[in-house]
């Protein structure tokens, strides 16, 4: 049952070339740049997000994800959730306020799959971009590219899904959907702290700590088709789509940033309440579960990771 984690708050992504990456996330996906720090990191957000930033880009020798953070309701919740995580035998490190600009203290830990997660409760709120919070207009003028509305979730690949399930259930997440192999082992987890069908997802993979994609929300299928047009118009590396997922039933397109990190924009999909029964997909029908129309997996979806 829910324990005070509200939403995916931020993701820090490593890129090989910062300028090329900013062009991808700002000009193509349509995120808003809201700041840079003295380490050269760039801070971005979708226009509907109220906090100052949700995507952090850092130039590095190896693309991938540094960490993903979840925003919690208050500071007291941070301490209680950190204590709960410690009880699982997972070490929790407190990072002081200000280490990320305009962000409060963060409780950081490494999940059984090797991915680094953190919880925080305080970040400067600048409000939705381009519209007032009194009598707000429907949308702001001046949005770019795909006009992504928000950072929505990540899909990560790793080995110990049972361990991650225990960790995220401890944090109050529900298991909205799963993939089970014929022996009943978990091959994928779609976990949520909200009404969304997933706030974080994992797929079973031999290596630890692999990044599959960061996903951004669009309002309509027409917007997804327009995103596909923009991918071609900018000669951007396409993975697959536009299509529909079986899992979550979202409508989607996948493409790559200039450093090979996968991006998704999607719309629609199912919803989840804590009393919902977990939806199960059979691993032997994984093609339909991932790509509902073709019912075939492209190998790249399982192997191209950063």
């Amino acid at each position: 049952m829910r324990k005070g984690v509200m939403r995916p708050g931020h993701v820090q992504i490593r890129v090989l070339d910062l300028d090329e990456a900013v062009k991808h996330y700002v000009e193509l996906i349509g995120l808003i740049e809201t700041g840079r720090d003295d380490q050269g990191r760039v801070f971005l957000k979708g226009w509907t997000e109220v906090d100052k930033y949700s995507v952090i880009l850092r130039e590095a020798d190896e693309p991938g994800m540094d960490f993903m953070g979840f925003k919690c309701v208050d500071e007291a919740t941070l301490d209680s959730l950190a204590a709960d995580v410690s009880k699982l035998g997972i070490e929790v490190k407190e990072i002081p306020a200000g280490d990320l600009p305009d962000c409060g203290r963060r409780m950081q830990f490494v999940a059984p799959t090797g991915h680094t997660f953190e919880l925080y409760a305080t970040k400067e709120q600048t409000g939705k971009w381009g519209i007032s919070d009194v009598n707000p207009d429907a949308w702001p003028r001046g949005l770019k590219g795909m006009k992504a509305t928000r950072f929505d979730h990540c899909l990560l690949y790793g080995d110990d899904l049972e361990g991650n399930l225990k960790l995220f259930e401890t944090l109050g997440f529900g298991l909205a959907e799963q993939v089970l192999d014929p022996e009943g082992n978990k091959a994928a987890l779609f976990l949520t702290a909200s009404m969304k069908e997933h706030d974080i997802a994992f797929i079973k993979h031999e290596e630890k700590n692999k990044f599959h994609h960061a996903s951004f929300y669009l309002d309509t299928w027409e917007d997804v088709l327009r995103a596909a047009d923009l991918i071609t118009m900018t000669n951007t590396s396409l993975d697959i789509g536009p299509t529909r997922h079986g899992l979550t039933h979202g409508q989607t397109i996948y493409f790559f940033d200039p450093s090979g990190n996968r991006s998704e924009v999607f719309c629609g999909g199912s919803y989840f309440y804590p009393d919902h029964k977990t939806i199960t997909w059979k691993a032997e029908d994984l093609g339909k579960a991932i790509f509902y129309h073709t019912r075939e997996l492209n190998e790249r979806f399982l192997t191209a990771l950063t």
């Binding site: 693309p63 993975d239 940033d257």
Partner: protein
Amino acid sequence: MATQNVCQISVTNRQQVFSVPKGEPLLMAMEKNNQHAIQVGCRGGGCGLCKVKVLQGDYQTKRMSKAHISEEEAVLGFALACRLTPLSDLELESDHFQLKKQQIQQAI
């Protein structure tokens, strides 16, 4: 011989030969040519699926993920085909992508 505008690419492990326009990244030029001698992943130097070993010829590369091409490997001719631009005819091996074994052993 490389003519003025075209480089011949010989992928020895797949026994395939194709030509790409000079100055174009090898992997995307191969795709345009409807050839399949090298595995295609992210096309951005990140995932490592298109890792090759160049046996002969001149080329230049853009920045590639250190997770897949270490400095030592780069000296030995390893490269990611999506970040490699041929400067002459090339002889190379594809299919050099490997999962990170050390991490797998830790996971077992």
